[in-house]
Amino acid sequence: MNNYQRVSIWALFHFIGRTLALFLKQAVNLIPLAVVVITGGEQIRMIIMWVLAIGLPGLIVLHAGVSWWFFRYCADANTLHIREGIFKRTQLTLDYDRIQQADIRQPWYFRPFGQSVLGVESAGSDGKEVELAGLSLDQSEKLRQTMMLHKQEQQCRAGIEQNDSEVWPDGSPQPDLKVDLPLPEIARYGLIHNPVLLVLPVVAYPIGQLDLIDDWLVPRVEGLVATFTNGSSFIETVLMSSAAVLVLLVLIVVFSVLLSIVRYYGFTLTVHGQRYQTRAGLLSIVSRSFQYARLQRLVLQQGIIARLLDRKSLRIDQSGRPDAIQQTKSFFVPVLDASRESELATSLKLNKPDWQSVHPASMVMPWLISTTILVVMTGLIADWNSLWMSVSGTLAGALTGLLVWAGWRRRAVHIDEQWLAVRRGVIGQQQSWIPAHKMQTLRIRQGPWLRLWGVSALHVLSAGGRETIAWLPVEQIEALKSRLTQCTEDYQGRWM
């Protein structure tokens, strides 16, 4: 008989948040109610307002309270059982053997009470995610250790010997590798990854709908420009405008850096044998771990700013949902300099890549298409004026030629006994590394255009995502497919 227990009363905060999120998701169904509010008269409006002001928060708290009451869990030596639901009861049984990632989060509202959330993700194409909120930090750590130790015990029972470096870390204070990111490095990530710039276009539409720009911003900007222009020279006006734009950009960058610090403050990566763990956060502390055996794909990214700062980011994808890998749930190292990258590469058993370029003919079609599009667009704008079209054709041809050439120079493949790596990019670069023995499906494709050049493309589908190796000679692609197939056939270890 399983001994089910409730999570602590502090978990109510978490359940209120969950109910609120659920309500907001369902709120769209209440839109027809707006008709009643508009047409129902003053009395109906008052009643609805009271319901919204008192009834709704009350209902949310009540729903959260009852959900907390019915939420029970039981963790034994091998399995985690969860029962939840008010009307629709759900029972979930999760074997520790299937757990591929266990995170401990300490949200800001839990930290004063020493509470935490244990998030567990299971493997498989229908990977489930379970959250146990309202466990003390100690409880969460113990439960996570039980889950991880389970695997070691299984190995011992199976008689598989491990060397010292592969033994689970518990009780061992010395990790095999420890990577700390100091504050300046985390600030650099804020410069590299600027979420504010991504949010701006999304926010621009609703702001545009409110006529804020036409009614409020434009008159003020015009007034400001008039003030500068009156009695000022053209150069002064340009300087002032440039300064205003600069201030705005600085504000955006400062905000991004602050966001980065809130998320990754005190970032520490520790490696104990096969177990990789990160811990970071200023307000909410997130601790995330994964086992090397679950690794399906490694992605090293370097954008334009990251290249200028000589830094890279590392994401590790695990098995589960290759079509919908959630960035926020991936194992992520935000910023790596050359020495940290080298240390981590050694730990992850990445070999020094020997990049092989693809066929130069891969440049022809992208160059032709982009140049043609630009010339046709110029023709449409300039009423098919031949002079404008010739100028545009020359400039577009040169510019797209340069970009396509830069892209071709970056595009390369590396294959060794353990890994298949693909590199791409124009100014920055992205490297994807897939273990050679973890292929799911391999597919060679060859259309008439590729056949003309005597090349083909290999699509590699792994449980962590897909990669395409195109524009290599047919014989080489065939040999690569055979080699990867044999590697996968021969590998009898755990891959997921």
Binding site: D323, R443, Q446, G447, L461, A463, T485, E489, W495
Partner: protein, 170 residues
Amino acid sequence: MMKDYQAVDPAYKTLLRLIILIDSGLLLTLVVLIALLIPAILPWHGVLAATLILLPTLLLMTLWVSRRYHLTGYDVQSRAVHFRTGALWRTQTVVTLNRIQHVEVTQGPLERALKLARLIIYTAGGRGSDLTVPGLPLSKAESIRDSLLQRVDEQPRFDDTGTQGVARDE
């Protein structure tokens, strides 16, 4: 290594022709309806559109179908399943037995009429990673499925050592 691909059932050609015929018929009906309902469209416009549909249909039903059938084949080896298809755009797919999640045999109405079936092999590679062998006689598809499932069951259990070098039995 040269693969000894086995051809699918010749009825697969009939299936492809029927699919092309149905698609072209629908397109032709749409063109006729548009020509009848919109007065601005002259009769010769309709004839031209119909010709532009019928000519490719004829080419697809003769040249493309025979080429596609000729290039479609499968090879069930002891540790992997290979499949090739295509006419202009050619594809070769391989799935190893130790990555198979589940195997399915399906039949649509046309396939049922022609006593054909599709064998679908699913892996954990997400959308598009499944291997579909069309145009198999139903009994053949079922026997391949049963044999694959039996061999998947016989696969050694996972351990975490990643031991390599298991003898190949091909």
